[in-house]
């Protein structure tokens, strides 16, 4: 068991990175600019930060077999973590006064184009 665990971790890590890469491209196609990836703070981590005009989308990427499972994966606790991390990010932006934040989800589903769900939760 002890030898297999790092292998599965590595596989999950790789699957996560591929998912984020696909999600980033899906957002770029929609006209968003990806301004940060895997943004880490003490409060939590944000998968992707995308911007279009003054609108900033704080994006959580979830790879799941179905869309419903992906949406369920954002628990209230996870939502709080993302929100806190977003506050950290926003505080470091020089133009924070004109930015509007929205919390989105990109679901990576098997054999499908990534699904973008805007405003998956509200603060």
């Amino acid at each position: 068991m002890a030898e297999r665990a790092p292998a599965s971790r590595r596989r999950a890590e790789r699957r996560g990175r591929t998912g984020e890469w696909r999600a980033a491209w899906a957002l770029r196609v929609k006209g968003y600019a990806i301004i940060a990836r895997r943004f880490k703070t003490r409060a939590g981590e944000i998968d992707l930060i995308a911007r279009r005009g003054d609108l900033v989308a704080i994006v959580e990427v979830k790879a799941r077999p179905t869309l419903a499972e992906a949406m369920d994966a954002i628990t209230p606790a996870a939502a709080r973590r993302i929100e806190a991390a977003a506050d950290h990010w926003l505080a470091r932006q020089p133009d924070h006064g004109r930015l509007s934040l929205r919390f989105d989800l990109v679901a990576i589903l098997p054999a499908r184009w990534p699904v973008h769900v805007p405003r998956v939760f509200t603060p």
């Binding site: 929100e83 977003a86 006064g97 930015l99 509007s100 934040l101 929205r102 603060p123």
Partner: protein
Amino acid sequence: MVGRVTTVAFQGVEAVPVDVQVMVAPGKMGMQIVGLPDKAVAESRERVQAALHASGLSMPPKRVTVNLAPADLPKEGSHFDLPIALGLMAALGAVPADALAGHCVLGELSLDGTIAPVAGVLPAAIAANAAGKGLICPAACGAEAAWADAEMAVLAPVSLIGLANHFRGTQVLSRPQPAIRAPATDLPDLADIKGQETARRALEVAAAGGHNLLMVGPPGSGKSMLAQRLPSILPSLAARELLDVSMIASVAGELAGGRLSDRRPFRAPHHSASMAAMVGGGLKARPGEVSLAHNGVLFLDEFPEFSPQVLDSLRQPLETGECAIARANHRVTYPARIQLVAAMNPCRCGLAGTPGHVCARGARCRADYQARISGPLMDRIDLHVEVPQVMPGDLIRKSAGESSAAVAERVAAARACQTARYGALGTGHIGVNAQCPTAMIEDVAQADRGATGLLADAADKMRFSARGYHRILKVARTIADLDGAAAVGRIHVAEAISYRIAGEATALAA
């Protein structure tokens, strides 16, 4: 990007203007409502978002802050949905802001964007008209709002889209027409009652002068039947009274389909009624039965079965014609000029005074039962009448009693006489003898010498209270009006005294 819309908050039947300010600014996407909203107002956030979505508008990806000013006035009710939605649409530029400036807005939103009816549209319309504004209200309440003024601009859209189209000019809404409920034709008729000539006469006098009436009689003698026929002989409401009555009904949410009725209200609460239900109160200081019966009849069947506190709470409204409800958060005065009609059995077994009946509990039975009604309340009832059991002979007799229409005609004539009199004296809202101020009744009655002599004698012997004395004069005035007599004569005073001492006699027997 601030949208401003005017709406109202209700304090009793008064509509207080409230300014809804909607600001759309950068920040975390979401919507917040401030300005002391209660639960129904705070929840309007979800309804507004859903209704905007259903109307094809999406929420802006920005922070939306809604302020309800003045911020220290508690806001309650569901009618803030529409002003908030319109304020938001104005802030987004979906409707022109200057089009909203001249309007007062109220209405509840459904999730599909249609506008649901709300309570209190009539007082809001009257307040808006006084402020020189138009009104935007739900379609179902349009007929009610149109009553406020014939010249006033009233918009009654079915949905948010309908209103947006109106402002865009693609589908202009027409002004709703004031609607009146069809006169009730199925009112029970006095002709159904056989015998009971004394009680019928007392009912007629009560109707003519707006006097309070108490009927005492054994079960099954027809007290409730008589009371239910009172609305059929009362005249319909005058224009001013109609608005007063409808304002209270509107605030209580009792105007079905926005139609006003010119029938006088007839309220018959069950005897389990609480004090808040009777005089008004509760969480929002809502009008009680006395106020809902304003300008009409409050009928209390099984009078002594009401709790004593509830009955005594009627004393002040009966005297002043209004109820002032004071709570920690509310100080509200509702008008309550009512005519009290009560019915009761003479004792617990109901048969005291019936020839041949002997109660196992003796005279105490009757005394205990009647003692439940306090003296001061009894003193406020002008007409006491015994309603004995109907004789079998009367029941078998084919001939029907006089119909309501004939009695209503006499009552209307007597009321016209009073309206002309008090109109000439310029006493404002007073329309019937029962409401005549004490200072004026001596002049109004114009009692001749025989009448004053009789009244003085009776007052001396029977020890009437000062209020009782003046109330006898008022009743005598009404009886003279029914007679078409200019001055109150001896015979009128005699009849009035007989109604008074029927009560004294029951009290003495007790």
